[in-house]
């Protein structure tokens, strides 16, 4: 069941374009054939998450969810079901009795999305249907509350793609810390007071790494700042059976204290400074790393967010900025995020 079928996702073709300078990194490109364009460039994309949802202005999660589910719907010919954990995504899309979803969609509890999805996949198998199952949730419902169910889904290799939209905190309930909140970030539960304001260093966890350690067929991290990479990963994940995990970095203007128009810019800076490594792994081994295109210091990323404003308040530089930079440097070294002179970015 877990046998990987290697197919060339449309995104891979787009990334190889070299001589279409104009808009090489944009959503679409009028100079290339329809089959080489992104799902989001298409006039008949599913718009899985349609207008009228109640997400804040500039919501990264609303964007990431549409990117991912539209790509999955194209990959499955729209024969799929989504299972949603409690969280922003569930609340802002489905205030009773309205829904923004354009596909069969189930919500149960905060912590059991992976288990419900396992059940839906089992039901499809029993009914001899080819319908695919995607579970999705925020970082709270995934890395904290739903973690046990998620680990179980992984180790049983259930045929589910689990997508975590990582906005680094419990944004729906008022911006509390989660195990995906970065060090030094101010949240409602890690206020910017005391000797070491904000979230403490040395806490939290990397669920993508934990997922890799389960040796499941496919694990990837992605970002709303690189649509082509994201679509390619979702498409690839849907070409494989077994347990799969994709974690997408989705900036939260409200929780991060950032301008609503900066959502994609921040996601890009998170990748380009090295704080959010973008990679993919198959069966326990890292197989691809998205190289940094234009490296930036972590301060470029931090300074645009009020959750880190306390780091830049005093007269002297806060030593924790250097610690965050050291985290970036460690990621760059560990994952090989900076391309060598002979490598293509």
């Amino acid at each position: 069941m877990s046998e990987a079928r290697e197919t060339l996702a449309p995104g891979e073709a787009v990334q190889r374009l070299k001589f279409y300078q104009k808009g090489t990194f944009t959503v679409g490109n009028r100079l290339v054939g329809e089959d080489e364009r992104s799902v989001q460039a298409s006039q008949d994309r599913s718009n899985a998450l349609t207008c009228g949802h109640r997400a804040c202005q500039g919501c990264g999660e609303a964007l990431g969810a549409r990117y991912a589910i539209d790509a999955a719907m194209r990959a499955t010919g729209k024969d799929m079901i989504a299972v949603n954990a409690t969280g922003c995504l569930e609340v802002f899309t489905t205030p009773y009795p309205e829904t923004s979803w354009q596909l069969p969609w189930v919500h149960s509890l905060f912590g059991n999305a992976a288990a419900v999805a396992t059940g839906v996949a089992a039901a499809m198998r029993v009914k001899n249907k080819r319908t695919r199952v995607v579970a999705q949730g925020g970082d709270g419902g995934t890395t904290d509350i739903g973690f046990q169910c998620l680990s179980g889904m992984f180790e049983r290799n259930d045929d589910v793609l689990y997508i975590c939209y990582d906005n680094e905190g419990y944004m729906n309930t008022g911006v509390q810390r989660s195990s995906a909140t970065p060090p030094a970030a101010r949240t409602a539960t890690t206020p910017a007071v005391g000797d070491e304001p904000g979230n403490v260093f040395g806490t939290g966890k990397s669920v993508p790494k934990i997922a890799v350690a389960h040796n499941i067929p496919y694990v990837a991290t992605a970002t709303v700042a690189d649509l082509h990479d994201l679509e390619r990963k979702v498409t690839k994940a849907m070409s494989v059976h077994g347990a799969r995990y994709i974690q997408i970095n989705v900036p939260c203007p409200l929780g991060w204290g950032a301008a609503s128009h900066d959502t994609i810019h921040l996601a890009r800076l998170a990748v380009e400074c090295g704080l959010y490594p973008i990679f993919e792994a198959e069966h326990g081994r890292i197989t691809h790393v998205r190289k940094i295109r234009k490296q930036v210091p972590v301060t470029d990323y931090l300074k645009r967010q009020r959750r880190f404003a306390h780091l830049f308040k005093g007269d002297r530089p806060d030593p924790r900025v250097a610690r965050l930079q050291a985290m970036c440097d460690a990621n760059i070294a560990d994952y090989g995020l900076v391309a060598g002179a002979d490598e293509e970015v």
Partner: protein, 543 residues
């Protein structure tokens, strides 16, 4: 509400589409056009970004047709224009400027090869215009007036068309068959050129020929002289005369050692010409430094490659058969050269003066209202001289003296002449805000360095008049066109359509662009931030 609901369900399923989130908005995105810096810098007023957009899609004929809306001489431009557009190009801040000039040349050459012709002029207006001078400015004005329906006659004092393009610019920069092809295309619009027909009095010529308006574009063909004591068999020539005689049967005899006096593009042209005529030594003597030289840097470079020697900070004191005496200069605090009293002697078989040119204003004698200042004719913002119905442009009016500026004058004058002939006033459309680099999101443009045009090897350059700079072929012209950032004008990259978290951008289909769905747009501004080319602005919502 219906009665047949399952347990604990009281409402029908609804869609979020009833929830018009547009009411949250305090700022609204709007699509705009901004003025690309290249277009802004073009003396001929070309819509460069516009024609590059056609070329990017591979539709070269559409690109050429868009180009010639403003400039009828693309193949000439692609060779002799000093391309201020490239100096303004935003792409220079990413890697290097788009090679606009080389794409223009590619399109111009392709048009000649394919025999593309201009669109036929509209119904005749019944008005007649006289143009004096078949140089770039006169040809440009003739072209635009003809396309506006007027009957145009050009009177040219010389035997052939082109003006300084023929008698000033050497063949190795502009092959004559290229010039002839583009002039021929203008004539095919019905423009008449009368050669060897010098106008001695403009008012008489207009009255005798029944012309309703005149455009003067006689250029500046009289070489400036400097008083240099000369003795013996000294051979002192001027650059205009040397370059002009290159077009005749008898090539000028310059000798083995040639000294050129001056620091402009003409000095460079004549020194390079001397090398090609067999001079072993061609020395440019200029009283200031290389940085102060008016000649364009790439031309100085090409001349140096061909073995032209430069003598900076020097003035010629006297010329004696076979040698000259040069005084060394030093720059003072203000950057002006001052004599030092140190002399040196250079061997020279001939000395060519390239000290600038004056305008022959004899045809204007007795014309009322016309003002001449510093040897050039004053014109108003509409290119009309002080004399009613007489317009002027090109080198004979105060401005930079380049082919492109002259072409721009011709176009501008033609538009005003057209309006004047119809009893109207021409008001150009207001200019958009400039799409400066800070308006762009440069992240989205992939790295792609400029294509370097191949050049003729040096050995052949000093022995022949073959063209030095070669053109691009189709594949690299396409590459070059696609390096354009499309500053300030939507190029349908789908970014706004993709990045909207609220699906509030409607894609209208190829060539039709996009529109906002203000029912749902929350005004987050992500589309404006992520628009690569700066074609979206956020404006305050009236609340």
């Amino acid at each position: 509400m219906t009665q047949n609901h399952p347990f604990a369900i009281t409402l029908d399923v609804g869609t979020s589409l009833v929830n018009h989130t547009g009411s949250w908005r305090t700022v609204r995105p709007e699509y705009v056009h901004r003025l690309p810096p290249c277009n802004h810098a073009c003396p001929a007023g070309e819509d460069i970004q516009g024609w590059l957009a056609h070329a990017e899609g591979g539709d070269y004929e559409a690109a050429w047709r868009a180009l010639v809306q403003n400039n009828p001489l693309p193949a000439v431009m692609g060779r002799v224009c000093y391309h201020p557009c490239e100096g303004a190009c935003n792409r220079a801040q990413i890697d290097s400027a788009v090679g606009i000039n080389s794409v223009e040349r590619f399109l111009g050459d392709l048009a000649i090869e394919k025999g593309w012709r201009f669109d036929a002029p509209p119904a005749p207006s019944g008005k007649k215009a006289l143009i004096v001078g078949a140089g770039p400015s006169g040809l440009s004005a003739a072209y635009h007036l003809a396309r506006l329906g007027h009957a145009v006659t050009i009177r040219e004092a010389g035997p052939l068309p082109g003006g300084m393009m023929r008698f000033g610019i050497p063949k190795y920069r502009l092959p004559r068959e290229i010039l002839d092809a583009e002039v021929q295309r203008i004539c095919a619009l019905g423009v008449t050129i009368e050669y060897n027909s010098k106008v001695s009095n403009i008012r008489d010529a207009m009255r005798d020929g029944g012309f309703d308006a005149a455009f003067l574009a006689v250029g500046a063909h009289i070489a400036k002289r400097a008083y240099i004591p000369a003795a013996g068999a000294a051979k002192v020539l001027d650059a205009v005369q040397v370059l002009r005689s290159m077009e005749g049967e008898d090539k000028p005899l310059l000798g083995r050692r040639v000294v050129v006096y001056g620091g402009g593009n003409t000095a460079i042209d004549v020194a390079r010409t001397a090398r090609r005529l067999g001079a072993e030594e061609a020395v440019i003597v200029y009283r200031r430094t290389r940085e102060k030289m008016p000649a364009h840097d790439f031309e100085v470079e090409e001349a140096l490659e061909e073995g032209v020697l430069m003598k900076w900070l020097s003035t010629i004191k006297n010329v004696d058969g076979g040698s000259i005496t040069v005084e060394k200069m030093a720059l003072d605090d203000k950057g002006f050269p001052q004599p030092t009293g140190e002399y040196e002697t250079l061997e020279a078989d001939s000395v060519i003066l390239a000290l600038g040119q004056d305008v022959d204003l004899s045809l204007l004698e007795g014309v009322e209202g016309l003002n001449v200042r510093d040897g050039v004719v004053e014109v108003g913002p509409n290119m009309m001289t002080g004399a009613t119905g007489i317009f002027a442009g090109g080198d004979m009016v105060p401005s930079e003296r380049t082919v492109t500026v002259a072409v721009g004058h011709g176009k501008k004058a033609a538009r005003h002449i057209d309006a004047w002939l119809r009893g109207q006033t021409y008001a150009p459309a207001p200019k958009h805000e400039i799409a400066s680099f800070d308006k762009l999101n440069a992240w989205y443009y992939g790295e792609a360095p400029k294509t370097v045009r191949p050049t003729l090897e040096v050995a052949r350059r000093t022995s022949s008049f073959d063209e030095v700079v070669k053109g691009l072929d189709e594949s690299n012209a396409l590459y070059e066109a696609r390096r354009c950032l499309s500053c300030g004008n939507c190029f349908e990259c789908d970014n706004c359509y993709g990045v909207c978290p609220d699906n509030s951008v409607v894609k209208l289909g190829p060539g039709k662009g996009f529109e906002f769905n203000y029912d749902f747009c929350k005004g987050c501004g992500v589309c404006a931030s992520e628009c690569p080319c700066g074609a979206i602005v956020m404006t305050q919502e009236a609340i």
